[in-house]
């Protein structure tokens, strides 16, 4: 018999970026808000304090801030005919854990999708015709436009104090920014970071080839900053410990630096850690949620928490898992193509070329997660999909994020991976390498999807979620196209040695090497309930008092890092909740 807690107006599942924002905005509405976080509490001091957090072995290799697969994982297979096996050792992607979620260990790249990305199916049909869409590809529009999201994306960027340079201010192209971005209403809140040497070289080479280099929009503060909640950032010191680490310097935007101390002051906000939500409970008529049942780790018992409004703010994969476990919405069936929950899982297609220079000293330990230089000349809006034979795009970028001894030790091809030869190569090449990367879109297909595993169960006895995913020819053609654009830039920089790494024909998904933690889809948004799990306000089509935040809403993956869009969508959804839903709770579409 589950313990029952006093009813709250709102229960939020997961206290990362979206949970913090929804918590703040709904607490400001005067509602009694409870956030349930299954991990531990975390704060800058002591969890990220100097110098303890700059420990690559503990946090980079042993994943100190990531989920432990023994507590939470999923099974993975490449095709519908394979038997999925559990993801027992983290590799390909690294979901975060604890208060702040992945918002503490991200690098801080904060992008907006291009205007065409929100209406990709319409764009392709209008510009190239529907017949270029491969039959297995499930191309969909988001149901929301760049113009509608603009003020909310701006608000998120001002919450985070993003350092960057606008390229398109209300339709006017601004020199030095990204000329291919969707129009924005305001300049970035902070000026760009100072360039590292590698990004200066890349910018010069790209400019010489007629491309349009601009500074990457970064959640590493270039100056002291105070946001709308009075929360503060200090200037980044380029220590090179962003990805996989919490920021020791109050310089990286995170729920901790940007929201949580302000939220914790609110008497109508409460959060409980080590409280893992097991399922969302439904009313008898199946039209609303009544609250959630969670496992209270400290008491060792299940708790029913009633609430009028449930906001699912977990990591995208866990959002889908909870919907499936709670039997909310029709599960997607990849054989028939029917159903919505689990539909359109997609990933990210990245590649890169590493350049080695005997005579250049990069001092790569001077770096940050998201400074650097990018070109968007081969982005979605700039590619003739019919001519090139694929649908997709990438940004191409350079900038040292650090020079850590274990993971950021780029060595030329054919270097031994251990022993005297390796040592010699480290002495010879450390600090002499840089890379130019492509970060690209990934489309969703009939058989890239999420469902419940028939065999494996988690520690609570619930079925694990099963991922079915493999690389597809369309996306491999896209990344090969990027290779053909990056290598000439790299060659123009005259490196002594070059090493490229792009997926090629026949590449199979390998879960072992780290690729990216940009897992998206599975609870996608849209204007049609037959092909989406949530409507354009991220409201469940099935339970109108359930809203689902996060990148699980992306119908296919954008070419950018997802956090900017995730934050913009959270502010967009909460605006609809405040303005339209709370005065009259009902399906908004």
């Amino acid at each position: 018999m589950a313990r029952q807690e006093k009813k709250k107006d709102v229960v939020i599942i997961g206290l990362g970026w979206t949970g913090s924002i929804l918590g703040m905005e709904l607490a400001n509405e005067g509602l009694e808000v409870l956030a349930l976080e299954r991990g531990d509490d975390r704060d800058t001091v002591p969890d990220f304090e100097y110098p303890k957090v700059a420990d690559e072995l503990r946090y980079g290799i042993r994943y100190g801030f990531m989920q432990k697969p023994r507590n939470s994982t999923l099974t993975i297979r490449r095709t519908l005919d394979e038997t999925a096996l559990p993801y027992r050792v983290l590799g390909s992607f690294l979901p975060g854990d604890g208060v702040g979620g992945a918002g503490i260990h991200w690098n801080g790249q904060t992008w907006r999708p291009q205007a065409v990305e929100y209406r990709l199916r319409s764009h392709v049909e209008e510009a190239f015709g529907a017949d270029i869409i491969p039959p297995e590809m499930r191309l969909q529009d988001w149901g929301v436009t760049a113009e509608e999201l603009e003020p909310h994306l701006t608000r998120f960027e001002y919450l985070l104090g993003i350092s960057g340079k606008a390229g398109n201010l209300d339709g006017t192209i601004v020199a030095g920014g990204n000329p291919f971005e969707a129009p924005r209403s305001k300049e970035y809140p902070l000026p760009p970071l100072v360039n590292t040497y590698d990004s200066v070289l890349f910018a010069d080479a790209a400019r010489a080839m007629g491309y349009h280099p601009f500074p990457r929009p970064s959640a590493n503060a270039s100056a002291a900053y105070v946001n709308e909640y009075g929360m503060q950032l200090g200037p980044c010191n380029y220590c090179g410990f962003c990805e996989r680490f919490g920021c020791l310097n109050y310089s990286k935007s995170s729920p901790q630096t940007c929201v949580l101390d302000a939220l914790k002051r609110k008497p109508n906000f409460e959060y409980r850690v080590r409280s893992e939500v097991l399922r969302i409970e439904k009313a008898a008529d199946g039209k609303t949620a009544t609250g959630v049942t969670y496992f209270d780790e400290r008491a060792g018992e299940e708790v029913f928490q009633p609430a009028d409004l449930v906001v699912l703010c977990a990591y995208s994969l866990h959002n889908v898992h909870l919907l499936l476990l709670s039997e909310i919405g029709t599960p997607y069936d990849p054989r028939s193509g029917e159903g919505v929950v689990g539909r359109n899982y997609s990933y990210q297609m990245n590649g890169g070329t590493t350049l080695f220079f005997k005579d250049k000293e990069f001092n790569p330990f001077v770096g940050n997660g998201s400074g650097g230089i990018t070109i968007d000349d081969f982005s979605m809006s700039q590619i003739d999909f019919a001519k090139e034979g694929f649908i997709g795009g990438s940004y191409i970028t350079a900038g040292h994020t650090g020079g850590r001894p274990i993971q950021q030790m780029a060595l030329p091809p054919d270097t031994p991976s251990w022993g005297a030869g390796w040592k010699r190569a480290v002495g010879e090449w450390y600090g002499h390498a840089m890379s130019i990367g492509s970060h690209g879109s990934n489309m969703a297909y009939r058989d890239t999807c999420l469902d419940l595993d028939p065999t494996y169960k988690d520690r609570h006895g619930r079925p694990l979620m099963r991922m079915t995913f493999d690389w597809k020819p369309n996306d491999i053609r896209m990344t090969q196209f990027m290779k053909s654009k990056i290598e000439p830039i790299a060659k123009s920089m005259n490196p002594d040695i070059m090493r490229s790494s792009f997926k090629s024909e026949g590449a199979a998904y390998d879960v072992r090497p780290y690729q990216t933690t940009h897992n998206v889809g599975g609870a996608i948004m849209g204007a049609d309930r037959a092909t989406s799990a949530v409507n354009r306000y991220l409201q469940s089509w099935d339970l109108h008092n359930l809203f689902v935040m996060g990148a699980s809403a992306f119908p296919q993956n954008i070419q950018y890092n997802p956090t900017g869009a995730v934050g913009g969508l959270a502010y967009w959804a909460v605006a609809a909740i405040r303005k339209d839903y709370l005065p009259n709770p009902r399906p908004l579409m």
Partner: protein
Amino acid sequence: MLTLLRIIAWLLLLAIVAALALIFVPARHTGPQPVEMAAAGATGDPDAAALYAARVADCAGCHTADDGEPFAGGRPIPSPFGAIYSPNITPDPETGIGGITLDQFRAALYDGIGRDGRNLYPAMPYDSYRELSEADVEDLYHYFTKVLAPVRNEPRETDLPFPLDQRWGIRAWKLVGLPEAGFEPRFDDPVLDRGAYLVEGPGHCGACHSPRNLVYAQAGFTSEDPDFLTGGEIGGWTAPDLRSDQSAIARWSDADLKLFLASGRNAHAGVRGEMKLAIEHSLQYFSDDDLSAVVAYLRAIGPAGAGSGAGAAEAPPVGQPIPRVDRLADESATETERLLSAAEPGMPLGARLYLDNCAACHFVDGKGADQIFPALDGNSLVTAPKVTGLVSTILAGAALPSTGERPAAVRMPGFADRLSDAEVAELATFVRGAWHNDAPAVKEEDVRGLRDAGAD
């Protein structure tokens, strides 16, 4: 000879009679003090006005223990003679002040006399509270008898050594230590008079920021007294001088001063020590008008000509990047900046420790970053005569208070587990002499005794 003995005997008798009088003759209570001046922005809501009065007088700073219920007492108040434990001032009839009359309440505030007639230790700033207006006394009485809920809590008894445990001695001390009761407006300017009232009276700023005289009484209670607010000491820390031409008042702008008082941080400094409690419990709740009045008054009583705040180099404002100049090529760079920027392996130990532990936030120019990383160049905590504040900060770290205006409880980690006593002394000596600072060295012995003090 006989005459001399007789005189001594008479004096002895007189002293005994005086002592007996001090012990047994009930003290007279000072009556209500009408103060002719504009009151705080009257809200019309008596409960809100009462809460505001309690916050302005910072009752919580002493009467709330760490992790204790508000106003339920038990906080140790440091004094040179030992800790004095604050009583429970919630209206609990048995452990608090339930049933107290207005006259008894006023006697505690004005005369330092408890309900049972006992003389209160002057850790209770009744010397300053003697300036409270009757209106504020009544508001406080309303708050502590009607608004606040009773909390049952028996705080620890204060146990000072003999003769300080003889409460009648306090009565004798009061004869010389207490100023006249009542507040006299004297600026012919409602803003300055309000500021004077707040600072001298309920705000009791002089309790820490004024020196103490031979009998440990506050050396001055109004701006008429030359020693008032010229710096004091609390718990071994220096409470900075607020009236010299080197004071924060002289060097900071009005906006900087107000932001510091409201949030504990500004372009120059982050609050430390007991002042953090004053901001946490009291100053963050001051109305904008009252903060302005406090700042105007502090300016008015400072050195002539000071007060534009133009004396100090301003840190870059929010949103403006720290200029990254080549310190070695920059002619205006200080010697310290050159030393740190050159980063020669043979540099002195203090400089190397600064680069390895401090420069990431406080930078080689020692200016930190606006509102988040305090400047060390010109920081009164760094250059204070008493090194306790600086050394404790290096050892145990620091945390800014979470306030409405700036909720982030920004923390500096402690370095006790990373630096030896000798290294802390080297580092502290370095920052006390770096940039424009010119304060004497810190000795290893100074560090040793402070190592075990906890973080706040």
